[in-house]
Symmetry: C2
Subunit: 483 residues, 2 copies
């Protein structure tokens, strides 16, 4: 491990975090809230930790995959820790564990919350809470599109890196350039959504909050009833469309901006994502039309919002899905394990891995029928080698195993099945709300500290695609390599 | 497809089923029950269907993998269908769907039941019900140890077929010889357990019933309170030990009989199975000692029985696990996805596949740390090739996807989470009881016909290691091949 470089890089990222608190200070001024000092203290603490780090002189700039993973893992953990301080200092969330849960949930764009009665929380604190989504989303895009592939991260990145057309890691030859283009798209989407929401009748402040939550596929709201509080169809449609957009690969929008408007429908992963959304909306619409709303348009309205908000791993709500029948709940629960596309701000297993699972299954069955034939598994036009397939399936297995371990720990709280399972699925997959106590209109406040801490870590594990955090537990990860 | 050979083979197996009803007729005579005619009618129906089939002249004896799969899939379905007729004719289970559920549950050695008040059911009918476990267990051993490998079935069989030492498909060179040895062991275990149970104080009839349920890892009892009804520690210990034994690879006992008493502890899969059992018993003992029994020996007694009965996929009960805390329930629920070892009568995913998952995970993590090193995944001394790994992981993925589809269908019943999830896990994994309504002392009677039919099919899918039944849905499976 190149400790000097790792520490220095973390220092740089922490400085960025301190800077990212400035907009919240401005909001504090505009709305005459009283928490400016909470932010200023936090900024000072961050600077006092980060300044020595950025002063470290690195002997070499050589960076190996594991250095990259260490930077990513530690910066997400530390940013969540420091990001939680304004909640504590302002007295909004007195418990440090609760505050860490809330900040992790923000930076990982999960949107799981321990807060209730949001209408009583100061506006500057809520702004910071939502702004962490926006920063987190930006971090994820660069992480999955630019950093992980260039570090030679395994499995999905390797697969994508060589599939023609949708190769986000190489939109342009240099990583830095790619990141700039993607940031541009990210900011463009942000601005367009804010404008549309204001036009639809949302207050400016609320438009910012919900745009941060949408673009980062986070899901923090400033209303206790989430998006449902506005009961405004235009707002719901805008948010549905933008959550869908942000659950898809951002590289597609680069190609669309360059004139290839059909780019999404040339991408197998996007087609799969689109197909799953259409099927899920259809099934749930029929189900809740029979059991809940008895009005096909109302059913379509609520089902499409909930389906897109969950598969994109955003987690806003317009309905109390606890009241829906089991069939709809199970569909939504299953979507929690699919999540967004590669190169989106969405989390969870990702559509391309699920698609690959189905392709491998089909191959296995055909292989039995025709034992001597040679079948390859293709994504786009590229045949994948067996090692890559094993890696993707290995990721899937690892996801399930981390899920089970999480469920075991949370089960110590002795809550019901729906809360136990869905709280883990919703945090590991960066969705936010689940079912039961942590349902679409519930929150995580009543869970034990052990569960909250576990779920915070699961959010970070899920956000970083499992490996970086697990690696920290392997001794040889820490060995110093002579360069 | 070699239709003639497939039909002829099915005919032969149906004749075997007709013969297997004779012991029940004897029981009918001994206990002066009134259902002899139900069996005789069933035997006549089977003979009238099977006789034309065995008369078919085959043009060639050439058999391809898919012919083997077709024989296996159809014979399990048809044997369950015909096996359900005595329940219907005797009036014990008037509904054909319920009877099919019960018979599938028997032949697949699942042990899920729609019956209650077992004390009121005629003894000959209950004998037949339990005897299907014994036949099913025998079928499974030959299926997984002799038939599947020789058909070139994929994944786990390929893996085992080449690992030295534990190579059940080749205990002796010929498939027929291997089957005979394994049957010998199966019958030996059966006799020993019956004798021990009688010595422990169980009535002879009950000893037969519970031995069939144990040796086949089925779990049908003749008592509504299952094994708990006797409140006899000796009986519990005997059944715990024998379920554990029958959840392990039968080939190990062949080597032990030949003098290699350490054979089990040379087998990686057995060591893993043993380790999981020890850890699960320890955790649950501590948990239920704190929350339920407040007596460490009582806790150990009940936890060890439940852990072994579930991981071996038997499903007997000595306690109402619904009353246990969530942590213990989740451990038991997780064990449902592990199941027995290859070459046992146990079902579910199997220890060796789970072990392989962990090995692949470890490899992935090491590979990131040392990108240029070459790591192989080993079972025993053999390094597995990437294709085999992909196949095993593919099986795991397929298992999970079949599970989710099952949960979706059962969710239409709109029952609670624990019932919905555990009913599918417990049938697909051939365990039997789950949690909630279908808990250790509950039953499946109140589910809808659609759910019962789905779960019956899931039992067969699980029992046949997923592929054979899924293949029936692929058009090219049915194509005639010119030989």
């Amino acid at each position: 491990m190149n400790f000097r470089l790792v520490l220095k890089s973390i220092g740089v990222l922490l400085i960025c975090e301190a800077i990212s608190m400035l907009p919240s200070l401005i909001v504090s001024g505009i709305y005459q809230e009283h928490n400016a000092l909470s932010f200023i203290y936090t900024i000072l603490i961050i600077l006092s930790v980060a300044t020595p780090l950025i002063m470290i002189k690195t002997r070499t700039k050589n960076m190996y995959a594991r250095d990259g993973f260490a930077i990513v893992a530690f910066s997400w953990i530390l940013m969540s820790f420091f990001g939680s301080l304004p909640f504590v200092f302002s007295g909004t969330i007195p418990s440090l564990i609760d505050a860490f849960f809330e900040a992790s949930s923000g930076f990982t764009t999960t949107g799981a919350s321990i807060l209730s009665n949001l209408e009583e929380i100061p506006k500057d604190i809520l702004f910071w809470r939502s702004f962490t989504h926006w920063i987190g989303g930006m971090g994820v895009i660069v992480l999955t599109l630019a950093i992980l592939p260039s570090l030679g991260a395994r499995g999905i990145q390797m697969m994508k890196a060589e599939s023609p057309g949708i190769n986000p890691g190489k939109l342009v030859p240099k990583v830095g350039e790619t990141a700039k283009i993607l940031y541009g798209i990210y900011i463009l989407i942000t601005i367009v959504e804010i404008v549309l929401l204001v036009m639809a009748g949302l207050p400016v402040y609320d438009s910012f909050i919900h745009t941060f939550g949408t673009v980062g596929t986070g899901g923090f709201s400033n209303m206790s009833l989430s998006v449902g509080a506005y009961n405004n169809v235009y707002v719901e449609v805008i948010i549905t469309i933008f959550t869908f957009i942000c659950g898809a690969n951002f590289a597609l929008y680069y190609y669309m901006l360059k004139g290839d408007l059909k780019a999404p429908f040339k991408d197998e992963e996007f087609k799969f994502y689109f197909g799953v959304v259409v099927i899920a909306i259809s099934l749930i619409t029929l189900d809740i039309n029979t059991h809940v709303f008895h009005n096909i348009w109302e059913s379509l309205r609520y089902s499409s919002f909930q389906v897109v908000t969950i598969i994109s791993t955003t987690g806003y709500a317009t309905a109390d899905t606890e009241q829906w029948s089991m069939f709809s709940k199970i569909i939504l629960f299953s979507l929690m394990f699919i999540g967004g596309c590669t190169g989106s701000t969405g989390g969870s297993i990702k559509n391309i891995r699920i698609l690959l699972l189905f392709k491998v299954m089909k191959r296995e069955l055909l292989q039995i029928i025709h034992p001597r034939a040679v079948y390859s598994v293709r994504i786009g036009k590229k045949a994948l080698d067996e090692k890559t397939i094993a890696e993707v399936l290995g990721f899937f297995a690892m996801y399930i195993i981390v899920f089970i371990v999480g469920v075991l720990i949370v089960s110590l709280d002795n809550l019901d099945w729906s809360t136990t399972f869905s709280s883990v699925a919703a945090t590991l997959g960066n969705i936010g709300p689940g079912f039961g106590i942590v349902g679409s209109l519930g929150n995580y406040a009543s869970l034990s500290d052990l569960s909250k801490l576990t779920l915070s870590i699961l959010m970070i594990i899920g956000r970083l695609e499992i490996y970086p955090i697990l690696l920290l537990g392997i001794p040889s990860f820490w060995k110093r390599v002579s360069i």
